[in-house]
Amino acid sequence: MFRYFVRRLLQGVLTFFGATFIVYALMFANQSDPLQALAGERPLPENVRQALTERYHLDDPFILQYGYYMKGLLTGDFGTSLTNRPILEMMEQAWPTTIRLSFIAIIIAVLIAVTAGIVSAIRRGGVFDNTTLVITLLLLSMPIVVLAPLAQLIFGMRLQWVPATAGADSGLFALVLPAFVLSSLVIATQLRVTRASVAENLRSDYVRTARAKGLADRRVIGVHVLRNSLIPVVTLIGTDLGNLMAGAIVTEGVFNIPGVGFMLVRGIRTEDGPLVVGFVSILVIVFLVVNLVVDLLYAVLDPRIRYE
């Protein structure tokens, strides 16, 4: 178990360096003139261009720029954005915001998906099952770029049940609508997986045995079926958490939540290499850790699985 853990960690380090290198290279290739992008359509005075080019090492070759960046990164210095803001400070602001939003989203998603999944598996072919099938189909086919502004228009602007946008230090209440929209990214798949898995386990031998023993339905489903059915769902939730953090780009823009997606959009718009790479590096770490935790959770849920 310990050896497995160490091996995975070492793999993680390699993945981290590979990923940051690729992202940095991509940003560099995409970069035509970040200073002009910052100035918009205003003509950029020559002296300003010269001063900023030197300040941000924009005239150095790629390898040197990457070297400067990595040197800073390993000493805990994420550098500054092109508007001279420390990126570390931007992260301290953005990450908690996004993590809070994703957690609310995932809780909403799991609560709805698992409950509805179990119910529709037990009453297969019933009205509830068919209704959820239609709803999940709708959700799956509706991209978030449509769903987010639509939800905002209906609940925020017309009905005014919730604030239309959330902002930086918003309360939990303001985050409910964005979290709901965000959870729709994952709710449909989670629901379908739960339903399929529970339905399959309901037919298995050990369930028949448990019923034959005279156990109550509640215990059969709650303990025997659920524990075995949750393995694929847990995997999904793990990867979904990463997806939600990375996928908040649209939602955070629409609801004006200054989180990770919000910063990434800004970085890409202004061709701000260090800003994008900094945030992506942390995203890579999040994915690595989440995947590791999910793998370890398997062993807890299914004692037959052992890692060597």
Binding site: D33, A39, E41, V48, T165, G167, G253
Partner: protein
């Protein structure tokens, strides 16, 4: 504006009555004056006056600082923080400051505050976006240095030979002189810009070096002072500064709320969480007039949209060809159907935001006449294919395609619109003299003078003259105008220069920008000026 006033008054009066009934009278007036209103902005890039060249930063700084001069409805400068701005030869300007102005930390505003701030602004290595405003001041060149082997080379630029402008001299505590390298009658107007605000002694780390965190909570001399710090991506809060000697604001404070997307700003206005949106995005223009009713407003600004003919493309060499293309464009149709009235047709080479603007100075060439256009185009032997290049990130596709369709129908040519990802990509192609066809361009003025359009856009080597137009006669007239003893004479010469443009047609004027803004029922007297800033001293809370 005037038409709605009685209704507003009625609403206000009713509210005051209700309030009086509720709390037993008293304090109504102060309640409105203490109100904190919210205005939507984007995240400013900087809050240092000399480095705030985009509108978000300028908007906030306009509340924190008081300019030397501001502009009236006719775009003429009037004095604000200055007691007098005088010059006998338009070369040496004597600026006398009003007594009684203080910075928000209690420091008295004096001549040194201006001189130090301007020196810092002009010093090249500081990389201030607004430094070029001081180009005209004597000694500006000595504060710049050139990288010996170009930007790509490994060598660093040497330090400039001087750190202070020789053209700035202190006379006494409240008086200083500005010497320009050449006479310029419009200098008074130039000083209305953000770059020319003073900075307090508390701003400096050491001589010429600003404190690292000064822009997190700028200390100004204006009607409002910072309340707390600039909360990035969230808000900048300001409150009325009691010791301000000038016109007092009519609200107690302003909460500048920061939004990344304009659509989110509009949603928040509709959701009731925001008071003013200064630019309603084009996506919402269809519904905004009905959503907001009489709180949906427009006012002119200085934006000038046009397309330029690169001089290196020989097929556009003949002026008849250029005029025919211009005549074949139906500007009215595009502004109404695509921009829904948020922009208006342009028929001159400068914006109405400057004194000296004349309507339709472009004449016949900017009047839609498809039959004449086609005849002239064919007679002049115009190219069979026309290309219009634009930057795809600015929402230009719709109108470029529409313009192309008009050219196709009216001139019988093939026309394509080509989008480059970013404006910088477009510029690179132009620099490399690639056949880009017509290039889409826009201009926002820095100070309200005709010269600010004529010089950068059409002057030889002008900062935004990407198409390479050059006419010595024109350059000469612009220069003579700048050196003219009075503004009236200057305008006369500049208008003559504009007439040359109408003859040469280096660009096709297309549209003039407008501020399309909206506000909530909690505020009144909302006006957005030509610099796209909310008139911060006029805005009021309804009650």
């Amino acid at each position: 504006m005037r038409g709605q006033f009685p209704l507003k008054m009625a609403v206000g009066a009713t509210a005051i009555m209700l309030l009086a009934a509720g709390c037993g009278g008293g304090g109504d007036e102060t309640e409105a004056a203490d109100a904190v209103i919210s205005i939507g902005i984007g995240e400013p890039q900087h809050l240092i006056p000399s480095n705030a060249t985009e509108s978000n930063g300028a908007e906030v700084l306009a509340a924190l600082f008081s300019p030397l001069v501001d502009f009236d409805a006719d775009n003429k400068p009037y004095l604000v923080a200055a007691e007098s701005v005088e010059s006998t030869d338009n070369k040496v300007w004597t600026i006398k400051l009003k007594d009684g102005y203080t910075f928000h930390n209690g420091e008295k505003v004096g001549a040194d505050n201006y001189i130090n701030a301007w020196n810092h602004a002009a010093y090249g290595p500081n990389g201030n976006g607004g430094s070029y405003f001081l180009e005209r001041v004597e000694g500006y060149k000595d504060l710049q240095s050139k990288d010996p082997d170009g930007e790509e080379g490994p060598k660093k630029a040497p330090d400039p030979v001087a750190k202070t402008l020789t053209g700035l001299k202190k006379v006494d505590e409240l008086t200083f002189t500005v010497t320009l390298s050449e006479p310029f009658s419009g200098w008074r107007s130039v000083m209305g810009y953000t770059t020319f605000y003073p900075l307090p002694a508390a701003a400096w780390q050491s001589e010429g070096v600003l404190k690292e965190d000064f822009e997190q909570a700028p200390i100004g001399n204006g009607p409002f002072k910072m309340k707390g710090k600039w909360e990035h991506d969230a808000k900048v809060e300001v409150e009325a500064y009691d010791a301000f000697p000038g016109d007092k604001p009519k609200v107690g404070g302003v909460n500048y709320r920061i939004f990344q997307e304009q659509t989110a700003q509009y949603a928040e206005l509709m959701g009731g969480g925001l008071d003013v949106v200064t630019q309603i995005p084009i996506e919402n223009l269809a519904s905004a007039p009905t959503d907001l009713g009489d709180r949906f407003k427009t006012s002119p600004n200085s934006v000038f949209q046009f397309v330029g003919f690169p001089t290196f493309q020989k097929e556009f060499e003949k002026v008849e060809v250029r005029k025919a293309i211009s005549m074949a464009i139906n500007r009215e149709e595009i502004t109404t159907s695509i921009f829904r009235g948020s922009q208006t047709p342009a028929t001159s080479f400068v914006s109405p935001a400057v004194a000296g603007y004349r309507e339709n100075s472009c004449g016949e060439a900017c009047t839609y006449d498809p039959a004449k256009a086609k005849a002239a185009y064919e007679a002049a032997g115009g190219p069979k294919q026309i290309k219009i290049t634009y930057n795809a990130d600015g929402g230009h596709k719709a109108w470029v395609d529409a313009t192309c369709n008009q050219l196709k129908a009216n001139l019988g040519v093939d026309c394509v619109g080509t989008g480059e990802p970013k404006f910088a990509d477009l510029l690179t192609k132009v620099e490399n003299k690639e056949p880009v066809g017509l290039i889409r361009l826009g201009w926002i003025m820095d100070y309200p003078l005709m010269e600010n359009y004529l010089g950068p856009l059409y002057g030889t080597g002008g900062s935004s003259n990407y198409y390479g137009y050059s006419n010595p006669e024109f350059d000469n007239l612009v220069k003579q105008g700048s050196a003219a003893p009075t503004q009236e004479e200057a305008i006369k010469l500049w208008q003559q220069a504009e007439d040359i443009l109408a003859r040469d047609m280096p660009v096709i004027p297309l549209r003039l920008g407008q501020n399309v803004f909206g506000h909530s029922e909690r505020v009144k007297n909302v006006e957005v000026d030509k610099f796209q800033k909310v008139e911060i001293l006029k805005i009021e809370a309804t009650s």
